[in-house]
Symmetry: C2
Subunit: 123 residues, 2 copies
Protein backbone atom coordinates (compact mmCIF):
# COMPACT_ATOMS: atom_id res chain seq x y z
CA UNK A 1 0.00 0.00 0.00
CA UNK A 2 1.39 3.36 -1.03
CA UNK A 3 2.40 5.54 1.92
CA UNK A 4 1.32 9.20 2.06
CA UNK A 5 3.01 10.12 5.33
CA UNK A 6 5.51 12.40 3.60
CA UNK A 7 2.75 14.31 1.85
CA UNK A 8 1.66 17.81 2.83
CA UNK A 9 -0.41 20.13 0.69
CA UNK A 10 1.15 23.58 0.38
CA UNK A 11 1.26 26.68 -1.76
CA UNK A 12 -1.11 27.67 -4.52
CA UNK A 13 -0.66 24.55 -6.59
CA UNK A 14 -3.99 22.68 -6.77
CA UNK A 15 -4.11 19.78 -4.32
CA UNK A 16 -5.10 17.25 -6.98
CA UNK A 17 -1.96 18.26 -8.88
CA UNK A 18 0.23 17.90 -5.80
CA UNK A 19 -1.08 14.37 -5.32
CA UNK A 20 -0.29 13.65 -8.97
CA UNK A 21 3.30 14.86 -8.50
CA UNK A 22 3.72 12.95 -5.26
CA UNK A 23 2.90 9.68 -7.03
CA UNK A 24 5.05 10.48 -10.07
CA UNK A 25 8.05 11.44 -7.95
CA UNK A 26 7.63 8.31 -5.86
CA UNK A 27 7.66 6.25 -9.05
CA UNK A 28 10.87 7.96 -10.18
CA UNK A 29 12.45 7.52 -6.74
CA UNK A 30 11.53 3.82 -6.73
CA UNK A 31 9.56 4.02 -3.49
CA UNK A 32 6.39 3.39 -5.51
CA UNK A 33 6.53 0.23 -7.63
CA UNK A 34 4.52 -1.56 -10.29
CA UNK A 35 1.59 -3.44 -8.74
CA UNK A 36 1.50 -1.31 -5.59
CA UNK A 37 -2.02 -0.69 -4.28
CA UNK A 38 -3.25 2.85 -3.78
CA UNK A 39 -5.32 3.80 -0.75
CA UNK A 40 -9.02 4.10 -1.46
CA UNK A 41 -10.40 7.54 -2.42
CA UNK A 42 -12.28 7.71 0.86
CA UNK A 43 -9.34 6.64 3.06
CA UNK A 44 -6.86 9.00 1.45
CA UNK A 45 -9.22 11.98 1.56
CA UNK A 46 -9.81 11.33 5.26
CA UNK A 47 -6.07 11.00 5.89
CA UNK A 48 -5.28 14.25 4.07
CA UNK A 49 -8.30 16.11 5.39
CA UNK A 50 -9.63 16.89 1.93
CA UNK A 51 -12.66 15.98 -0.15
CA UNK A 52 -12.94 12.54 -1.80
CA UNK A 53 -13.68 14.25 -5.12
CA UNK A 54 -10.30 15.97 -5.03
CA UNK A 55 -8.56 12.60 -4.67
CA UNK A 56 -10.76 11.19 -7.41
CA UNK A 57 -9.63 13.97 -9.75
CA UNK A 58 -5.96 13.16 -9.11
CA UNK A 59 -6.52 9.42 -9.58
CA UNK A 60 -8.54 9.79 -12.76
CA UNK A 61 -5.73 11.89 -14.23
CA UNK A 62 -3.22 9.20 -13.26
CA UNK A 63 -5.40 6.69 -15.04
CA UNK A 64 -5.59 8.86 -18.17
CA UNK A 65 -1.78 8.88 -18.19
CA UNK A 66 -1.70 5.10 -17.89
CA UNK A 67 0.06 5.08 -14.52
CA UNK A 68 -2.69 3.33 -12.55
CA UNK A 69 -5.57 0.98 -13.26
CA UNK A 70 -8.96 1.22 -11.58
CA UNK A 71 -11.93 -1.14 -11.58
CA UNK A 72 -15.21 -0.57 -9.79
CA UNK A 73 -15.17 -2.33 -6.46
CA UNK A 74 -11.43 -3.09 -6.29
CA UNK A 75 -8.50 -0.99 -5.15
CA UNK A 76 -6.53 0.90 -7.80
CA UNK A 77 -3.03 -0.36 -8.55
CA UNK A 78 0.09 1.14 -10.12
CA UNK A 79 0.88 0.01 -13.67
CA UNK A 80 4.51 1.00 -14.13
CA UNK A 81 7.24 -0.11 -16.53
CA UNK A 82 10.89 0.87 -16.93
CA UNK A 83 9.90 2.88 -19.98
CA UNK A 84 7.15 4.82 -18.21
CA UNK A 85 9.42 5.56 -15.27
CA UNK A 86 12.17 6.87 -17.52
CA UNK A 87 9.64 9.11 -19.27
CA UNK A 88 8.47 10.45 -15.93
CA UNK A 89 12.04 11.10 -14.87
CA UNK A 90 12.77 13.14 -17.97
CA UNK A 91 9.44 14.96 -17.77
CA UNK A 92 9.81 15.98 -14.14
CA UNK A 93 13.50 16.88 -14.29
CA UNK A 94 13.11 18.93 -17.45
CA UNK A 95 10.25 20.88 -15.91
CA UNK A 96 12.15 21.52 -12.70
CA UNK A 97 15.49 22.52 -14.21
CA UNK A 98 14.16 24.67 -17.03
CA UNK A 99 12.27 26.62 -14.42
CA UNK A 100 15.34 26.97 -12.19
CA UNK A 101 17.76 28.16 -14.83
CA UNK A 102 15.21 30.57 -16.26
CA UNK A 103 14.55 32.00 -12.83
CA UNK A 104 18.25 32.38 -12.05
CA UNK A 105 18.87 34.19 -15.30
CA UNK A 106 16.10 36.61 -14.53
CA UNK A 107 17.98 37.44 -11.34
CA UNK A 108 21.28 37.68 -13.24
CA UNK A 109 22.85 34.86 -11.25
CA UNK A 110 25.63 32.89 -12.95
CA UNK A 111 25.70 29.13 -13.29
CA UNK A 112 28.67 28.98 -10.96
CA UNK A 113 26.97 31.00 -8.24
CA UNK A 114 23.80 28.95 -8.65
CA UNK A 115 25.73 25.71 -8.15
CA UNK A 116 27.49 27.19 -5.14
CA UNK A 117 24.12 28.12 -3.64
CA UNK A 118 22.77 24.62 -4.21
CA UNK A 119 25.76 23.16 -2.35
CA UNK A 120 24.78 25.39 0.58
CA UNK A 121 21.03 24.78 0.50
CA UNK A 122 21.21 21.01 0.16
CA UNK A 123 20.49 19.69 3.62
Amino acid sequence: MINFNGFEASGNDPIYHQILLFIKKGAVAGTIKDGDELPSRRNLSALLGINPNTVQKAFSLLEEEGLIESHAGAKSVMTLSAKKIESLRVELLTEELKSLSSSMKQMNISKEEAIGLIEKFWK
Copy 2:
Protein backbone atom coordinates in the same frame (compact mmCIF):
# COMPACT_ATOMS: atom_id res chain seq x y z
CA MET B 1 10.31 53.26 -17.79
CA ILE B 2 10.39 49.61 -16.80
CA ASN B 3 10.45 47.25 -19.76
CA PHE B 4 8.08 44.27 -19.92
CA ASN B 5 9.25 42.84 -23.23
CA GLY B 6 10.75 39.76 -21.55
CA PHE B 7 7.49 39.00 -19.75
CA GLU B 8 5.19 36.18 -20.74
CA ALA B 9 2.43 34.75 -18.59
CA SER B 10 2.62 30.98 -18.32
CA GLY B 11 1.61 28.03 -16.18
CA ASN B 12 -0.96 27.96 -13.43
CA ASP B 13 0.66 30.66 -11.32
CA PRO B 14 -1.75 33.62 -11.07
CA ILE B 15 -0.82 36.41 -13.50
CA TYR B 16 -0.74 39.08 -10.78
CA HIS B 17 1.83 36.95 -8.96
CA GLN B 18 3.95 36.52 -12.08
CA ILE B 19 4.03 40.29 -12.51
CA LEU B 20 5.09 40.62 -8.89
CA LEU B 21 7.97 38.17 -9.42
CA PHE B 22 9.01 39.83 -12.65
CA ILE B 23 9.48 43.14 -10.86
CA LYS B 24 11.23 41.58 -7.87
CA LYS B 25 13.62 39.58 -10.01
CA GLY B 26 14.37 42.65 -12.10
CA ALA B 27 15.22 44.53 -8.91
CA VAL B 28 17.57 41.74 -7.84
CA ALA B 29 19.14 41.59 -11.30
CA GLY B 30 19.69 45.34 -11.30
CA THR B 31 17.71 45.93 -14.49
CA ILE B 32 15.04 47.68 -12.41
CA LYS B 33 16.38 50.53 -10.27
CA ASP B 34 15.25 52.90 -7.57
CA GLY B 35 13.21 55.74 -9.07
CA ASP B 36 12.28 53.86 -12.22
CA GLU B 37 8.77 54.62 -13.47
CA LEU B 38 6.30 51.79 -13.97
CA PRO B 39 3.99 51.73 -16.96
CA SER B 40 0.44 52.81 -16.18
CA ARG B 41 -2.09 50.13 -15.22
CA ARG B 42 -3.95 50.71 -18.46
CA ASN B 43 -0.88 50.63 -20.70
CA LEU B 44 0.58 47.50 -19.15
CA SER B 45 -2.71 45.62 -19.24
CA ALA B 46 -3.10 46.47 -22.92
CA LEU B 47 0.48 45.38 -23.62
CA LEU B 48 0.03 42.05 -21.83
CA GLY B 49 -3.49 41.46 -23.11
CA ILE B 50 -4.96 41.22 -19.62
CA ASN B 51 -7.40 43.17 -17.48
CA PRO B 52 -6.33 46.45 -15.80
CA ASN B 53 -7.59 45.10 -12.48
CA THR B 54 -5.10 42.24 -12.63
CA VAL B 55 -2.23 44.72 -13.01
CA GLN B 56 -3.71 46.81 -10.23
CA LYS B 57 -3.68 43.79 -7.94
CA ALA B 58 0.02 43.18 -8.63
CA PHE B 59 0.90 46.85 -8.13
CA SER B 60 -1.07 47.23 -4.92
CA LEU B 61 0.79 44.22 -3.49
CA LEU B 62 4.10 45.79 -4.51
CA GLU B 63 3.04 48.92 -2.68
CA GLU B 64 2.11 46.94 0.44
CA GLU B 65 5.62 45.51 0.41
CA GLY B 66 7.10 48.99 0.11
CA LEU B 67 8.70 48.38 -3.27
CA ILE B 68 6.77 51.05 -5.19
CA GLU B 69 4.99 54.29 -4.43
CA SER B 70 1.74 55.35 -6.07
CA HIS B 71 -0.12 58.65 -6.00
CA ALA B 72 -3.41 59.37 -7.72
CA GLY B 73 -2.75 61.07 -11.05
CA ALA B 74 0.98 60.33 -11.26
CA LYS B 75 2.90 57.30 -12.47
CA SER B 76 4.04 54.78 -9.88
CA VAL B 77 7.78 54.65 -9.17
CA MET B 78 10.13 52.07 -7.67
CA THR B 79 11.32 52.78 -4.13
CA LEU B 80 14.35 50.51 -3.72
CA SER B 81 17.33 50.50 -1.39
CA ALA B 82 20.36 48.24 -1.06
CA LYS B 83 18.75 46.73 2.01
CA LYS B 84 15.44 45.97 0.29
CA ILE B 85 17.22 44.46 -2.70
CA GLU B 86 19.32 42.20 -0.51
CA SER B 87 16.17 41.05 1.28
CA LEU B 88 14.52 40.28 -2.04
CA ARG B 89 17.56 38.33 -3.17
CA VAL B 90 17.54 36.17 -0.08
CA GLU B 91 13.76 35.73 -0.21
CA LEU B 92 13.67 34.68 -3.84
CA LEU B 93 16.73 32.44 -3.76
CA THR B 94 15.65 30.67 -0.59
CA GLU B 95 12.23 29.98 -2.08
CA GLU B 96 13.67 28.67 -5.32
CA LEU B 97 16.40 26.46 -3.87
CA LYS B 98 14.40 24.97 -1.02
CA SER B 99 11.85 23.92 -3.59
CA LEU B 100 14.51 22.44 -5.89
CA SER B 101 16.33 20.41 -3.29
CA SER B 102 13.07 19.15 -1.80
CA SER B 103 11.86 18.09 -5.22
CA MET B 104 15.12 16.35 -6.05
CA LYS B 105 15.07 14.42 -2.80
CA GLN B 106 11.55 13.25 -3.51
CA MET B 107 12.92 11.78 -6.73
CA ASN B 108 15.92 10.29 -4.91
CA ILE B 109 18.41 12.29 -6.95
CA SER B 110 21.78 13.04 -5.34
CA LYS B 111 23.28 16.49 -5.03
CA GLU B 112 26.04 15.50 -7.45
CA GLU B 113 23.61 14.29 -10.09
CA ALA B 114 21.48 17.41 -9.62
CA ILE B 115 24.49 19.65 -10.19
CA GLY B 116 25.48 17.63 -13.22
CA LEU B 117 21.99 18.08 -14.64
CA ILE B 118 22.10 21.81 -14.07
CA GLU B 119 25.36 22.01 -16.01
CA LYS B 120 23.54 20.34 -18.88
CA PHE B 121 20.32 22.34 -18.74
CA TRP B 122 21.93 25.76 -18.38
CA LYS B 123 21.75 27.24 -21.87
